[in-house]
Point group: C2
Chain length 205, copies 2
């Protein structure tokens, strides 16, 4: 009964607070966000945060876990789809990541900063290593380069070329004198460029 009432409101207050927490934590990071910021963003009283989530840290852990899942969502499927060529995989990753990051531009810097601040919180979560190091893409890279080079370099290159512009966007705005519109078409262009670049890089080995 109590559960029922609670379940019905899952789409309202509790969810709204979590949503607000996502926004504020990603915008300002754990240390710089005040629980009052989240309450204000959600439009509720401060005490509700503790009522629903016990503490700032517990709420943060939930946001972090969901953010990491968001960061990986859809990637594992691409990496291990044996029907796709190497370049097709890279295209799909570049496109999916660019779209996802365009919708969530704060996500990568948030994850990288908070993992650095608290590396142990990543360990308990998903097994990144297995997903990537045993992936079909990994084998394809080995094949393409004739094992002359550690495939991890190309994993890094794909991620770097795709994700870094979002991590560095405040800097790029200044360096490149880009307004948000320009930045948008820049990363849009890179969807098609990155697969070409990666392919030519692979051929160099």
């Amino acid at each position: 009964m109590a559960k029922n009432v609670r379940a019905e409101s899952d789409t309202s207050t509790e969810e709204k607070i979590k949503k607000a927490a996502h926004v504020v934590f990603k915008r300002k990071g754990f240390a710089a966000t005040r629980t009052r910021d989240i309450a204000d963003e959600a439009g509720f009283n401060l005490a509700l945060l503790n009522y629903y989530f016990r503490s700032k840290e517990k709420l943060f852990d939930i946001v972090m876990k969901e953010s990491i899942q968001q960061f990986l969502k859809g990637i594992a499927g691409i990496l291990n789809n044996t029907a796709l060529s190497l370049t097709e995989k890279v295209s799909l990753v570049a496109e999916n990541y660019t779209d996802m990051l365009s919708a969530n531009p704060d996500l990568p810097l948030f994850i990288l900063s908070e993992i650095k601040a608290n590396p142990e919180k990543l360990a308990l979560d998903l097994n990144f290593k297995e997903i990537i190091m045993r992936s079909h893409l990994f084998e394809q890279i080995q094949e393409a380069t004739g094992k002359t080079i550690n495939p991890i370099h190309f994993i890094i290159n794909i991620i770097s070329l795709t994700v870094f512009p979002f991590v560095a966007s405040p800097l790029l705005r200044v360096i490149g004198d880009l307004n948000p519109q320009d930045f948008n078409s820049l990363v849009e262009d890179r969807k098609k460029l990155i697969p070409v670049w990666i392919e030519t890089m692979l051929k160099a080995h």
Copy 2:
């Protein structure tokens, strides 16, 4: 007279506090560092921080300014050295940056995070835009690609491939199962790889 005494101790207390501030701010970021952390790291009483630097924020501004200078130091010279070929420039940038970041691994994530948190603090400082957009390297990229593509892409690529591993190192340690030793030789390898990659990427246009 007063100035003299002060000047002599510039290499002791005041400098030690600033040094400690560099360490702690870069390790934890502005919001997460306590002034007491800095005092402890320096081995002095908390009040000395305010005695020498007035406030946490003033001290931070100094650290930030010096960090940005460190981040740019030596680069402008390379970018505009007309005696160097494009690939030579890329090699020098990759080498210098890798060495500098190996010695200061916290630097890039610190700068990117804090600039995102406080974009206006960058504006008053050096004129990034001019340094890069009017550089000799910029012209060389235009020449190499026959103006078929915005050179900013290659500026981004060079920085991405060089800097991103350091920004993502906590993640890479988990994904790639790299210990610090492995990470070291990985970025060391990339010093030579990145110029080759950039060259082949340019030829693709």
